[in-house]
């Protein structure tokens, strides 16, 4: 049997590894996407006090520490059975919205967007943020830096630090904000709304007005009919900080909504002996392998899934974009994976609008930002939407609040199965009769990037993009061709 390895050139750990096997005709028989790293936060957090979890789990990922900080703080609240003051909830969500704007900006302009703005066929050397600046103009680079600066500034005002915030504790926060700080945050939020609109305008001009790109989005190669999940509020509108998880079938029917403490009824994780990362699936549907369709428990948790799983968006400008999105792409749900990029920008606009909504609430500056927990700590589960998918933290403690059990299902893990499927689909369409198309790397890479995978989070180890090497081997295992690329 012929074998193709897509391996980090250097075998840099923490990155993914793909093995593709060909059958006797030289067509793809099977493919394995392996994650080679594990850190074990679930183990070494045991014995630690639960109030430290927002600080310890920050270090799972330095790119999205805010998501772990929030999930951990909410799970710690749940462990103490405490309903935190309204101001505390708003402050945490406000921090989180500023983080979302920053994170989605980084992804669109530096990681995923260049595929579109520069075009998927552009030379690799141009498919980066500098390429975008050269094509669209210098002032856009300034805007991107500004968006990241404003986001980090707001995170620091509320969270105490730019990276690894430190202020969320069981019962609320260690500090509130002053009126002066509120005004500053509001000003930055208003700028972020304009930036969100500008980004969607850019997407419209460059991508949607270009039939070739639109065809790429609408084409079959990047389509998978899976379930979609995402957090929604009581009106089934998108929410990133709180709510219940809506589960929507491939045909668009909502099969249910689960509260955080019901997650084990809905989500199962499967261990494969060839990868350190587990595969999640919908327990109620069951694991049928890496396949599409209503009978397969594979689901997706991405910006696109969140739009699919919700009935709309609670802020006006983003809602308008939401409607345009489905009108353009032929109704709900959308299964074209490249539409994740567009969905991400709609979410960016929502986060900016919500940022201003929260910053202008009269109670946001209230000193009522913490309540002392009084009940005996036991067990708690919390869910937030991390930019890369639904994030679940589940803790059990002794009566002193020291951890006895920790379970984490992080954003990218949810998407391990669909990412593996996208890889297999790209491989099948590009490898025929033993011949490997040079475009394979690009297509595989684009399939990854749409999900914005963070295998640092997923393995609770190293984030980063995927360096790839494809080795084509003959039936005796001798390499006959090597294609390589570092992203």
């Amino acid at each position: 049997m012929q074998r193709i390895s897509i391996d980090p050139i250097t075998r840099l750990e923490g990155h993914g590894k793909i093995e593709i096997f060909l059958d006797d005709q030289g067509d793809v028989a099977n493919s394995y996407f392996q994650i080679p790293e594990l850190r074990g936060f679930e183990r070494f957090c045991l014995g630690r006090p639960v109030e430290e979890m927002p600080l310890l789990t920050n270090r799972i990922c330095g790119v999205c520490p805010e998501a772990h900080h929030m999930a951990a703080a909410k799970a710690a609240d749940a462990v103490y059975h405490i309903d935190i003051p309204r101001t505390a909830k708003m402050l945490r969500e406000l921090l989180y919205m500023a983080f979302y704007v920053t994170d989605h900006t980084t992804h669109f302009y530096a990681l995923g967007g260049p595929d579109f703005v520069m075009g998927p066929d552009a030379p690799v050397a141009e498919r980066n943020i500098l390429g975008i600046i050269h094509k669209v103009g210098l002032e856009i680079g300034g805007k991107v830096i500004q968006a990241r600066k404003f986001g980090h500034a707001t995170v620091e005002i509320i969270g105490g630090r730019k990276v690894h915030p430190c202020t969320s504790i069981p019962g609320g926060l260690t500090k509130g904000i002053t009126e002066e700080q509120r005004q500053e945050i509001e000003k930055m939020g208003r700028w972020a709304i304009e930036f969100g609109q500008f980004s969607l305008g850019l997407f419209n001009d460059i991508v949607l007005s270009n039939q070739q790109y639109l065809d790429l989005i609408l084409g079959d190669i990047y389509a998978h009919e899976t379930y979609s999940i995402g957090l929604v509020d009581e009106n089934n509108k998108i929410n990133f900080y709180d709510g219940r998880v809506s589960v929507v079938a491939p045909d668009g029917e909502r099969i249910g909504k689960y509260a955080p403490n019901e997650y084990t009824d809905w989500i199962g994780e499967r261990v494969e002996p060839w990868s350190y990362l587990k595969f999640t699936y919908l327990k109620k549907v069951g694991w049928k392998g890496l396949v599409d369709g209503k009978d397969s428990g594979v689901y997706c948790a991405t910006p696109l899934s969140r739009l699919n799983a919700a009935d709309g968006i609670a802020t006006p400008l983003a809602q308008e974009q939401y409607e345009k999105f489905y009108a353009t792409l032929g109704g709900k749900p959308v299964h074209k994976r490249l539409a994740i990029h567009w969905a991400r920008l709609i979410e960016l606009l929502y986060a900016a609008e919500r940022w201003v909504e929260l910053a202008t609430d009269p109670e946001i500056t209230s000193p009522d930002f913490h309540k002392v927990p009084t009940e005996t700590p036991t067990e708690g589960v919390a869910i937030v939407e991390a930019p890369r998918g639904t994030l679940t933290h589940h803790y059990k403690t002794d009566e002193r609040g020291l951890l006895k059990e920790v379970n984490l299902i992080v954003g990218t893990t949810n998407n391990y199965a669909p990412i593996s499927m996208s890889i297999q689909k790209a491989a099948k369409s590009l490898i025929k009769k033993g011949k490997v198309n040079e475009g394979l790397l690009n297509m595989v890479e684009m399939a990854f990037r749409a999900y914005d995978p963070c295998f640092g989070c997923a393995t609770h180890s190293l984030p980063g993009q995927m360096p790839l090497e494809v080795t084509v081997r003959d039936a005796q295992g001798n390499p006959i061709d090597v294609l390589k690329q570092f992203c």
Partner: protein, 334 residues
């Protein structure tokens, strides 16, 4: 020197969270100084990076390498050796490389215990008790994943290190200051600190930068931060009973956490001259305990719920203790 006459710069992440990379990006415009003064030859997060190109470089041809992340498996170690060989100056960048950071707490458990927690968790459906295997025979052929080391190592436990830059992550203004210094050295306007020095930080403790008032007050018990009705915004946190690590932790962050009402958790590592951070912190805590009675002292110490986490949160892997016996043996037995 490169063809363009500029000295070469590299940055690498081993087993890290990516926060160090974000901290470097957060120097914003100063990144242009790096670009103006250096030829960036290897930086996987930011550019097309070829390991084989690094292998092909002459020894000591990279002037400056910032290495972040701990050493978790043989590949991390291999790249540490390669970059040591190719670099004139190798900096352990950030808490993971310097002292192990939070992931170093894994050194309290064996690999088996870690695997058991992860692959038998409450949401995992795994009745056969499957564990990932380093080689596995699929119907189509054998596939591999790397073996995990029984303990996490710091960078200087595998290669000699020239400088240490602490912090989780190092603060961006400190990164900026180090870049300024190196640029001055390149222009002959400054000289390098002695080998082995800690850079991008100050010598004293976090308390020196903390605006909170200290009255040399002693305490009768430690308190959990969530249990305090109203934390005094102006008073030393330790004197309010909150186990703040400022007294033992190196100055450099500007006391960010205590300013935000949260205790210092020690991410900048030990202050200058301290051999073992935990031992130093224990002495510091002992000095605020208000009792001479051994039994009462015992009771007060019992109010610290997690001593090993408190004293070795960021530096277990780099401390004199390094790891628990069971982790060190890698077999789950004590």
């Amino acid at each position: 020197m490169s063809a363009n006459g500029k000295p070469k710069f590299a940055m690498y992440w081993a087993a890290s969270c990516g926060g160090c990379e974000i901290a470097v990006l957060n120097i914003h415009e100063k990144i242009l100084d790096v670009d103006a003064n250096f030829d960036v030859v290897f930086w996987p997060v930011a550019m097309d990076a070829k390991y084989k190109d690094v292998q092909a470089m002459p020894d000591k041809s990279i002037l400056l390498t910032l290495f972040n992340g701990g050493i978790r498996n043989e590949e991390n170690e291999e790249i540490a050796h390669l970059l040591r060989q190719k670099s004139q100056i190798l900096v352990a960048f950030g808490s993971c490389a310097c002292e192990g950071c939070i992931p170093g707490l894994a050194n309290l458990s064996s690999t088996k215990e870690i695997m058991d927690s992860v692959y038998s968790s409450v949401s995992t459906v795994n009745p056969e008790g499957i564990r990932p295997q380093t080689s596995y025979l699929m119907p189509e052929g054998e596939i591999h994943i790397p073996k995990i080391y029984p303990v996490l190592k710091t960078l200087d436990q595998v290669v000699p290190v020239d400088y240490y830059m602490p912090g989780c992550p190092p603060e961006s203004h400190q990164i900026g200051a180090v870049i300024d210094l190196v640029v001055k050295v390149l222009h002959g306007e400054a000289s390098l600190p002695p080998t082995g020095a800690t850079i991008g930080a100050d010598k004293s403790t976090v308390c020196d930068d903390c605006p909170r008032e200290r009255n040399v007050k002693t305490i009768k018990s430690f308190k959990r931060i969530q249990d305090i009705e109203k934390v005094d915004p102006n008073l030393c946190l330790l004197e309010q009973g909150i186990p703040c690590n400022g007294l033992a932790t190196r100055q450099g962050c500007g006391a960010l956490c205590p300013r935000a009402g949260a205790q210092c958790i020690g991410c900048y590592g030990p202050a200058e001259g301290v051999v073992d951070y935990g031992a130093r912190l224990m002495t510091a805590f002992a000095s605020v305990i208000d009792s001479q009675d051994p039994e009462e002292i015992e009771r007060i110490l019992d109010t610290l719920p997690d001593p090993v986490g408190q004293f070795y949160r960021f530096n277990l892997a780099g401390s004199l203790m390094r790891a628990s016996r069971s982790a060190w043996n890698g077999n789950g037995k004590t």
